[in-house]
């Protein structure tokens, strides 16, 4: 029912505490009983109260999400009066999103707008004279959140969510009708229709979840192949691209002909850059093996950067190189030609096309045209840095979908095993209520209304 409207004071909440937008540092705040446990699991560390700790934050597979400064404030000496933690991470929206997702996975829920301040106020941690300010904050940030939610819910995403909500309503209509009106002539629980519909709903939700993850590539990072002659300036470009977000891990190549991988973070998008050491014309057998690997890497990449030494190489060299790589069809549009060392050739940084490929003139050494390259790179892979509000709204939606999905699979499992319609109904209700946080709550009376309009009830 609508008890969701009531404050859930026992919950641990998480939210971004720093100002929206891309910044050097982003601060996550957690408040509530589970805070310490969550912190411990993310950082594998037991922080002492009110001390700054430099920690490595990891996901559930142990993969590094970020290096962060972590602060732990036990209750009641904290902002909200509850157990509070702050995680000061790098400001990339993607990294922060992954951190929030991890906290949710460990039992937190996303805070409602203004909820930290609300808790602080209700726990006597704020001057009562600030009541108006807090009220204004909740009011305005709720409005902001609502706008973000609408922006996040555009197009197919919204259509699919509403389609799933409609299916759930339909499904519940059958299940609840079977329970509340057993003397009517059809028993929907025993005739298999319900189970089939449930399966369809689960599949739809699964598909939507896959799509909604903002592309699996954002989660695991994209793969970029960096090709070009050894002296074209690949490592200086790599350093330039990664900037402050330079990742920690560099795998040691097995042989000189192996591919070198670097994990970097460009504009908040995690990327794996594969340096194809020797992608050039060669008759050497060992080098040919290297070429084979390079070509394989290119065909599996999300993007290919072809680096040219603008001082030494000509347009003809570029065409020859392209022919040599023999780009697969779907990579044609995802290959960018990067002409480096314009500081020596005295050209200006600019973007153009060359042999039907996007081409950008830069100097990695002198930091010229790097911004153009990054923009071109992000445009090419189809990533547009989202507004912060939309990003968080999307995270909220994905969390809801995930819970909904878990409930439905439990429902399926329970019904198959216990055959108790009431447990199926319970899980369906919880799933539907959860989805209702996006699509609007369906009250029990609405549900009954749907039943009465669909079935001729009344003995």
């Amino acid at each position: 029912m609508s008890s969701h409207v009531l404050p859930e004071t026992e919950d641990t909440i998480v939210a971004l505490a720093s100002a929206p937008g891309r910044a050097g540092v982003g601060v996550l705040r957690l408040s509530g009983k589970q805070t310490f446990d969550i912190l411990k699991q993310i950082t594998n560390n037991t922080p002492s109260p009110r001390h700054a700790h430099l920690c490595i934050c990891r996901d559930k597979h142990g993969e590094i999400l970020d290096h962060a400064l972590v602060l732990w404030f036990p209750a009641p000496h904290s902002f909200t009066g509850e157990d509070v933690a702050e995680i000061q991470a790098h400001g990339s929206p993607v990294v922060l999103d992954l951190l929030i997702a991890r906290c949710i996975e460990l039992g937190a829920r996303m805070a409602r707008p203004g909820e930290f301040s609300e808790r602080a106020f209700l726990n006597d941690k704020m001057d009562l004279a600030q009541a108006e300010a807090i009220a204004d904050l909740i009011d305005s940030s709720s409005a902001q959140a609502a706008k973000s939610a609408i922006r996040s819910l555009t197009g197919d995403f919204s259509a699919h969510i509403h389609a799933i909500a409609a299916r759930l309503l339909h499904l519940r209509m059958y299940v609840e009708a079977a329970i509340d009106f057993p003397e009517e002539e059809v028993d929907f629980l025993s005739d298999g229709v319900v189970l089939q519909q449930l399966e369809t709903a689960i599949n739809l939700l699964q598909q939507l979840l896959n799509q909604a993850q903002l592309g699996a590539m954002l989660r695991e990072g994209m793969t970029v192949v960096l090709a070009g002659a050894p002296n074209a300036g690949k490592s200086s470009l790599l350093n330039r691209l990664s900037g402050d977000d330079r990742a920690i891990v560099t795998e040691i190549p097995g042989t000189t002909r192996d591919l070198l991988r670097e994990h970097i973070n460009i504009a908040g998008v995690p990327m794996t850059v594969i340096d194809t050491a020797g992608l050039h014309d060669s008759q050497d057998i060992v080098e040919q093996e290297g070429m084979k690997r390079a070509k394989h890497a290119v065909s599996h990449a999300d993007l290919c950067l072809l680096l040219i030494d603008g001082h030494k190489q000509t347009e003809r060299d570029v065409i020859k190189l392209l022919a040599n790589i023999d780009l697969p069809k779907d990579m044609q549009a995802k290959t960018i030609i990067v002409i480096n060392k314009i500081d020596l050739s005295e050209e200006h940084p600019h973007v153009d096309t060359l042999n039907q490929h996007a081409c950008v003139w830069i100097s990695a050494k002198e930091n010229q045209g790097i911004d153009l390259l990054i923009k071109l790179l992000l445009d090419t892979i189809g990533f547009h840095p989202p507004q912060e509000g939309v990003f968080l709204a999307r995270r909220r939606h994905i969390t809801i979908l995930q819970i909904c999905y878990d409930r439905l699979t439990t429902a399926m499992h329970q019904f198959n095993k216990l055959k108790a319609g009431e447990l199926l109904a319970e899980d369906l209700r919880l799933a539907h209520d959860k989805l209702g946080e996006i699509t609007g709550r369906v009250s029990s009376d609405d549900l009954l209304g749907a039943i009465f309009s669909q079935f001729c009830i009344g003995k």
């Binding site: 009531l6 859930e8 319609g421 319970e426 009376d445 009954l448």
Partner: protein
């Protein structure tokens, strides 16, 4: 009836709400008077001769857990008992009984007449004595002024009742009874929010004129289900069958041809009828693609031939009623004993009541039953019980008694009514209860009898039986939890067909949590005994273990909201002063006057942000008051 005393409680009306209210008040030791316009109709079943069903059976068991009358009367009057939803899980399982109308009335009358502290008097009530927004008693038809500290109104469909058969209409509270028009007019004068509802009833058929030979029979369950926690199958009278017939295209043609004489389809009836109990005209028109509807022929009793054809409630003219009845199989020669009719009546918007069913505007006045916009004997009885209890508490200047949505169906119903109101006659359904898995028929006593005992509603016999059951359940659960099963033991081999081989030692409780293993299976293995003698105890142990996970989760849900749900809102709160609240939300709150944050949260259109704003306002408000004090 004693004119020289001031009664603690006067109950107006002798239907299902009135009898439970009067009995509850008297059980608590209050000096109680039950006023009815006709003693012969005490405990009358005005509509179908059945008690219970999904959601409704739950209410009956709750009334019973409070020591009420309905379940025991049904055990003494039931002529066919069934468990509905037997296969869908214990929470939605419900008892339903056909009752012999006469036996039921006799059982209720006997309980009323033998109840200590209860006076019964036959007089219609025409007026209320109200002074300074406080009730002081009632005035009867012959001008008697009877004084009381509290009055419970349970006037059913009698307020401004108007009966429709075809385009003919006359004033009446029920077929054969006059309406309570003077009281209706008086209540309208008090400026309470009033509305019109409608309900209907089918024609009754002479059973001797029905040919049952071609009709499907429906018998009750064997063993016979028992309604009351204190009941037994030995109380039941002889059991008989119901029969099933169907409407057909011919029936539907007759109905369609008569719609120009239907008060519903010609706009004569203004009141809103229930969606779940449509008239046969409604069914035929709204579900035109359905060419047949199932009709249950329910006997009205052992000593009468009267039959209640459940499913053809109608207000068509008599000629059409006779033709449509005779169009059905087995009823070709049927004679009608009483015509069907629709009845319109006044009800009071229950949002004008507190969750203890007290009228917010007039202290000491309580409303229960159909007057609050509900339908059904069970819904009425349950409200009567709660109103009776609260009238007594008020007369003793004690705190009101309310039930939460997580405690009882009664709590769900009262909360729905007093926070959301109702647009149609309100009936209980299990889907209304979000804590459905906890609110079962089988545990109504475990949920409520202790509370009832504290209130003084339960006698020593019932309480002792309840205590014993509770202890037996605890003992058996403890025994199960400490009974270990070893791999490769005789017991594990006996369980093998159900759960397969076990790799390590398990206690029985853990094994019972598995979907594949049920408690009744354990009982077949003698060496696992001794098992409790009582079936009810075994049932509780089985359900409690199996559903533990779900019930824990629901309890957690309750717990999560507890901190603020019961926080009371000041009576005179000016919602326009709450910063940030939208005009629309402030208006809804002002209109509904919620008593607590929990109530406010259930008003439609309420958002988490709105509740946050309210909380902040309350905190500030409390602070400001402390400052100025």
């Amino acid at each position: 009836m004693d004119l020289s005393i001031t009664y603690d409680v006067i109950v107006v009306g002798g239907g299902h709400a009135g009898t439970e209210a009067a009995l509850a008040a008297a059980r608590m030791g209050a000096t109680t008077l039950l006023l009815t316009h006709n003693i012969e109709t005490l405990g009358q079943m005005s509509c179908n001769p059945a008690i219970g069903g999904i959601g409704k059976g739950h209410l009956v068991r709750e009334i019973d857990a409070f020591g009420g009358a309905m379940a025991l009367a049904t055990d003494q009057a039931g002529i066919q008992f069934r468990i509905l939803n037997a296969s869908k899980g214990p929470a939605v399982r419900a008892t339903r009984a056909q009752a012999d109308r006469l036996l039921y009335k006799q059982a209720i009358r006997s309980m009323l007449e033998n109840q200590a502290n209860l006076h019964i008097f036959q007089q219609a009530v025409e007026d209320l004595i109200v002074q300074q927004h406080k009730i002081h008693g009632v005035v009867t038809q012959m001008g008697l002024r009877i004084h009381a500290k509290t009055v419970v109104l349970t006037t059913g469909t009698f307020l401004g009742g108007k009966i429709h058969i075809g385009l003919e209409q006359y004033q009446g509270g029920r077929a054969g009874d006059p309406p309570a028009n003077a009281l209706a007019a008086r209540l309208r004068d008090l400026n309470l929010p009033v509305g019109r509802l409608k309900t209907g009833t089918p024609p009754r058929i002479d059973g001797r004129s029905i040919d049952y030979s071609e009709l499907a029979e429906q018998w009750g369950d064997n063993p016979q289900p028992i309604f009351s926690f204190m009941g037994s199958a030995a109380m039941h009278p002889a059991q008989i069958a119901c029969h099933i017939t169907h409407t057909n295209e011919k029936t539907h043609d007759i109905i369609r041809a008569s719609l120009d004489k239907s008060p519903m389809y010609t706009g004569v009836i203004e009141g809103v009828g229930p969606r779940y109990c449509p008239s046969i005209e409604d069914k035929v028109m709204r579900f035109a693609d359905k060419n047949s509807h199932q009709i249950f022929l329910e006997p009205e009793g052992l000593t009468t031939h009267e039959v209640y054809p459940n499913g053809i409630s109608t207000s068509l003219p008599y000629e059409a009623q006779l033709a449509l009845v005779r169009s059905m199989k087995g009823c070709e020669q049927a004679n009608i004993l009483r015509p069907g009719y629709a009845i319109e009546y006044d009800y009071f918007d229950p949002r004008a009541l507190t969750p203890s069913l007290a009228c917010k505007a007039i202290a000491g006045l309580y409303f229960a039953g159909q007057i609050n916009g509900t339908t059904g004997y069970e819904e009425a009885g349950a409200q009567g019980l709660l109103a009776g209890i609260n009238a007594v508490l008020y007369s003793r200047e004690q705190t009101p008694f309310t039930l939460g949505r997580e405690q009882a169906y009664l709590g769900v119903m009262i909360d729905d009514l007093t926070t959301l109101g109702t647009q149609e006659p309100y009936r209980m359904f299990t889907s209304r209860a979000e804590y459905r898995l906890q609110l079962r028929e089988d545990n109504a006593d475990l949920r409520l009898t202790e509370i009832a005992y504290q209130l003084g509603l339960v006698d020593a016999t019932r309480y002792a039986a309840f205590m014993k059951k509770q202890i037996d359940i605890q003992n058996e659960k403890a025994r199960i939890a400490t009974h270990w099963v070893l791999p490769n033991s005789d017991i594990s081999r006996a369980l093998q067909p159900h759960i397969g081989d076990i790799s390590r030692e398990y206690n029985l409780e853990d094994l019972l949590k598995r979907p594949e293993l049920d408690y009744p299976v354990l009982k077949t293995i003698e060496s696992l005994g001794p098992f409790p003698d009582s079936e009810a105890v075994c049932e509780q142990v089985a359900i409690q273990i199996k559903y533990q996970g779900y019930i824990d989760r629901q309890e957690e849900e309750v717990e999560r909201h507890k901190k603020y749900a019961h926080l009371t809102l000041p009576k005179q709160l000016d919602y326009r002063q709450v910063i940030g609240l939208s005009h629309e939300v402030a208006e809804k709150l002002a209109k509904n006057q919620p008593l607590t944050i929990g109530h406010a949260a259930r008003i439609q259109g309420m958002t988490p942000a709105a509740i946050s704003l309210l909380l902040i306002h309350l905190k500030k408000h409390a602070y400001d008051q402390r400052q100025s004090a």
